[in-house]
Symmetry: C2
Subunit: 144 residues, 2 copies
Amino acid sequence: MTIAEANEFRALCDRAGIAVTHQRQVIYQVLSGMHGHPSPEEVYGRVKVRIPAISLATVYKNIHVFIESGIFCTVSLHHGSLRVETNHSPHHHLVCTGCRSITDIAAGDLGLPVKAHKLRGGFLAQRYAVDVLGLCPECQKSVS
Amino acid sequence: MTIAEANEFRALCDRAGIAVTHQRQVIYQVLSGMHGHPSPEEVYGRVKVRIPAISLATVYKNIHVFIESGIFCTVSLHHGSLRVETNHSPHHHLVCTGCRSITDIAAGDLGLPVKAHKLRGGFLAQRYAVDVLGLCPECQKSVS
DNA sequence: TTGACAAACGATAATAATTATCGTTTACTA
DNA sequence: TAGTAAACGATAATTATTATCGTTTGTCAA
């Protein structure tokens, strides 16, 4: 890593109010160099090459730190466990990033296609699922 | 349950090619009577009132059977484990219901709001995450 | 610099969610 | 109504994640 990169990471940590550690920096660099949607286990595998003694728990902890600091996002903010959709009418979800609650909203006014159709690239789109991420009224109170 | 309801469920199972069992019917009825996004554990709790001897595994198995048959959906079709978003540019996801792969698409042409704003109901919308559910080119081959 | 203190680390136990196994029971078809 | 595959219940196993705890390491003020 260059001096510039190191300084950039230091500034990032300052802003987030977290300490600059070797492990944290390597996890950050590995994440930045990956594309797609890696799992903690995959990140661990790559970090281990550079820091063989690192613990999986450290990788998990730092990924969460990065997410809380807004440095990275998660792909899905839904509940971690299986949930069944009991609302059969077309609708989307308000997902609260504070309390992780999920509320339904009618699909009607979003104007997305309802029929299956092919996208450029050959993907057959069957259904659009929109998550509106934000804060529910309750969580807005606790933030302010 | 009424005779009509029983017949309706029987027809449903016929179409799905699955056997009609007492447990399956009660799980179906309980699911149909719940709103929101219940977890298997919650479904189990309610089913147990009517069939005290039922096993949690049976609830899991039947929820999966219902999902595979298209009788119910899952709230999220993403990987069950934590995934980190490494693509920092605004984009959405093509989620394949066959192989569960997630591919990025640029957000540009979806025309959804980018700025945070309040929705009726008081929810503060900060970001839209759109999943386009469907089949990737590979999985379209295996289906046909 | 250095010394105190909080933050972070590594190892690993614990927990939660889910799936697999397997012997028994039950529904479906001939 | 008998044979067979599917479904069931009990429970072990697995996977993903989090908590605990003793040790080490940054950070910040003196």
